[in-house]
Amino acid sequence: MKILHVDDSKAMRMIVQRTVKMAGFSDLTFVEAENGRHGLEVLEAEKPDVILSDWNMPEMNGLEFLKKIREANNPITFGFITSESNPETRQEALDAGASFVITKPFTPEAFEQQLTPVFAQLS
């Protein structure tokens, strides 16, 4: 299973990937991008199975990134990992085509809860 992880913070990319492994998902390959624009390039090159994306990024934010993906009719499973914690933002994410939103600070259990059904469906 290949995951494209998009976040402008290298520190947060490390924390997320570490936490995903702590959640029990060990057999994963991560590819990374620093913002939505870079994410589109990596998506094309790497053909991941799932995208995990931050919301607030320079050049192209996570919402714009998701909308570009859906405009291209790509149904790839997309989840946000974001500090944007209010209900309106969550609904905006879901309306745009995200499957889930995990808010920071997060726990391994939050990833386990959201990713278990995703990976089961993709298997």
């Binding site: 402008d8 947060m12 490390m14 607030n56 600070p105």
Partner: protein
Amino acid sequence: MFDRLMVEELVADVMSTMLQLDLHPTSATQQPANTELYLAHIAIEGHWQSDCYVFCPSQLAKRIAASMFQSEPNQLEPNEITDAMGELANILGGNLKGVLPGENHLSLPTVQTIGSDDLLDAKPDESDVSFECYQLPLTVRFRHPVECSPCPQ
């Protein structure tokens, strides 16, 4: 809308949940004299406007970054410390924004280093919430949210 207890709980939650760092609220607000500080800032904009600052001595910023990168403090590059402090401000700002009604968004975080002697006191519309971590002070300063009038289109 933001109060000390909420900020204390939020910061403690972030630090313990994500970084496994133990910190304690303290009434002492002074940063050590003649010390380099890392100062991170993020703005909340939209229907409500506010600012959130996080600052601490470089020594503690390195510890925070080391925890994020699972590295040793003395092995970090300056941009990694900046990254870590910016992300800390991002998480705190995002959670503070979450309690505000209406449509609001976060700026991108900015991080700078300043001398502690150049740090200004909190303004009347700002509050400091201070903590101790590794016997070093970490302060979260927030500007009390202001409802914009008129709201930006």
